[in-house]
């Protein structure tokens, strides 16, 4: 279900999702809880990236760097005596501010050049962190990060984090949905469809791209902040370039520019990546196998999705859902030849913003 159509999500589905989210942490092993938290964190990052890719039509190959900036901001502030909660709140703000500064020159680039620019930002991040050991702990990283407290509540167990992260997931998804459904979101969506049309209706295209870029970084920043308190340790190894690529794949697999696609993509790719890692780490196999294997699988997945399901899994499912619904008699209200037009759109699925050729 896309951001537009999501108002049609039936109540029972929302309730069911809520119950599952609440009950699941009680039943999971500690390893699985970690995966559960990771899926939540990635959903937040991917929701932001999806807003950027789907609406500003820009691909960021450096989103893991913003995730990292959020992590380091929270870790450094917490280690310097700030209250962990304040440090966590500061993480998205600092990340957004940095993205704004980087975005001003970067967004002058277009298409592939911009994608490489964002990749360059990540490489610079990965190069700078080891060189600023006094602040960031260098390549060894920062440890003994104080645990998170919200008022009298100590957030310490994996289960606590599972609840915290899913509260933040819901909050960010609501924010994403609120934005896409009101003036700024309409401006963004208009911009993705026609830049000249959008600017003719008063949308300040360049400014909107910058805001979208900044917002997507803020999402990555809050996720990074939670991550660092959850793990209690941060080093540059946690933010490899391949993680940025995973984020892009998650967006594409779930469905570009959709809120629920963020969750589907994040969950699926996180699980796939876990499976591949455990497959590839059998004792008799070479140590670099997991990385090679996952890159290969991502490549195949990306090609298959872009060729066969350009609107992602969520888009494909919502199309099936619409078809099933239009098979029921109530939906045939329109007269004068518009049915043909409706069924035509149903088969081409233009109601998902597919920017496949930008990827």
């Amino acid at each position: 279900m896309s951001m537009r159509a999501s108002r049609k999500i039936p109540l029972y589905a929302v309730v069911a999702a809520g119950v599952i989210t609440l009950v699941l942490p009680l039943m999971l092993s500690s390893t699985n809880t970690e995966i559960y938290v990771t899926i939540g964190l990635y959903t937040i990052v991917v929701a932001g990236l999806s807003l950027l890719m789907g609406f500003a039509g820009q691909v960021s190959l450096g989103q893991a760097a913003y995730y990292g900036v959020g992590s380091y901001t929270a870790a450094i502030l917490a280690l310097h005596g700030w209250s962990p909660l304040v440090a966590l709140i500061a993480a998205p703000i600092a990340t957004a501010f940095l993205a704004f500064l980087v975005g001003v020159p970067l967004l002058r680039l277009k298409g592939h050049a911009l994608a490489f620019g964002t990749l360059a930002f990540q490489l610079i991040f990965l190069a700078v962190v080891p060189e600023t050991a006094s602040l960031t702990g260098g390549s060894i990283g920062l440890s003994a990060i104080p645990s998170l407290r919200i008022g009298p509540l100590a957030i310490s167990s994996g289960r606590d984090y599972a609840y915290l992260v899913w509260i933040v997931v819901v909050a960010t998804l609501i924010i994403a949905r609120n934005i896409t459904r009101s003036r700024p979101g309409r401006g963004l969506r208009a911009m993705a469809a026609s830049v000249s049309g959008a600017s003719a209706t008063g949308v300040e295209v360049e400014r909107y791209k910058l805001k979208d870029f900044t917002l997507s970084a803020a999402f990555a920043g809050i996720a990074g902040g939670i991550y660092v308190f959850f793990i209690g340790y941060v080093s540059p190894d946690a933010f490899p370039v391949v993680l940025s690529i995973e984020f892009v794949i998650m967006v594409v697999v779930g469905g570009i520019g959709t809120v629920s696609g963020a969750f589907v993509g994040a969950a699926l790719i996180t699980v796939v990546s876990q499976v591949l890692t455990s497959l590839g780490t059998s004792p008799s196999l070479p140590p670099q196998l997991p990385t090679v294997l996952s890159l290969g699988v991502y490549a195949v997945l990306l090609i298959v999705i872009l060729r066969l399901l350009p609107s992602g899994l969520v888009g494909a499912f919502s199309r099936l859902w619409k078809k099933a619904q239009s098979a029921s008699p109530i939906s045939h209200v329109e007269g004068d030849g518009t049915e043909g037009a409706i069924s035509a759109t149903g088969s081409e699925e233009p109601d998902e913003l597919t920017l496949a050729d930008e990827v």
Partner: protein
Amino acid sequence: MAEAGEFLVARDLTLSFGGVQAVNSVSFSIAKGELRGLIGPNGAGKSTLFHLISGHFYPDRGSLVFEGNRIENKSPAARAKMGISITFQAVHLFSGMTVLENVMVGGHSWTKHEWLEASFRLRRCRNEERSIREKAMWALTMVGLERYANQLAESLPLGRQRALQIARALCSMPKLLLLDEPASGLRGDERRELLSLLEKLHENALTMILIEHDVDFVTKVAPRISVLDQGQVIADGTPDEIREHPAVISAYLGTAISHEVN
């Protein structure tokens, strides 16, 4: 016929692409509430002139004054906010959005709430969203598309897509509406609907400039017509004056109007 006022005044507007003078030292003025027809052969520079007014092109030379303000170097978005709205010759729809949402984008120019207010649906966001929605429904009703409100924009047939563009422009509550060949590709009944819509808007004192290929169509609705040829204004007057103007006849010689003139 309205005498030229101070509403929109162009002086010496010039724009060339490479060696071609697309718009060559064009001066004109439009009075408030006027409906001005703009005709000319293919490649005369009509659409280019519109893009100079809407801000999608910037002139090499010359000035453009809208309600006393110089606008020739302002961005399209800034001009939209000042009340200049354009419907393009090639339909620029926002695909993936419903008909109603397309029109609601038009409300962008007169509302203010931004990302933070939208994120948390603060009061200004809620209020403005409500008035944008009301205005959009009004605009859809004006062009007769209200029953398609929740359909995807790209599923409409071409004639309705053109009407949708006009609705979007109306939702922006324009002071000046630039219509670039709104009747092209329309069927007979759709043309008549468009004609009556333009008459209604004209009665409501909306200032409009209408580019139209079909001279017959323009003469029915525009009390005054300017003729552009090779980037220059070659004539200006009532439909009758235009028909008899020697420069117009020679510019159109061999095309539709010569037929009519004779």
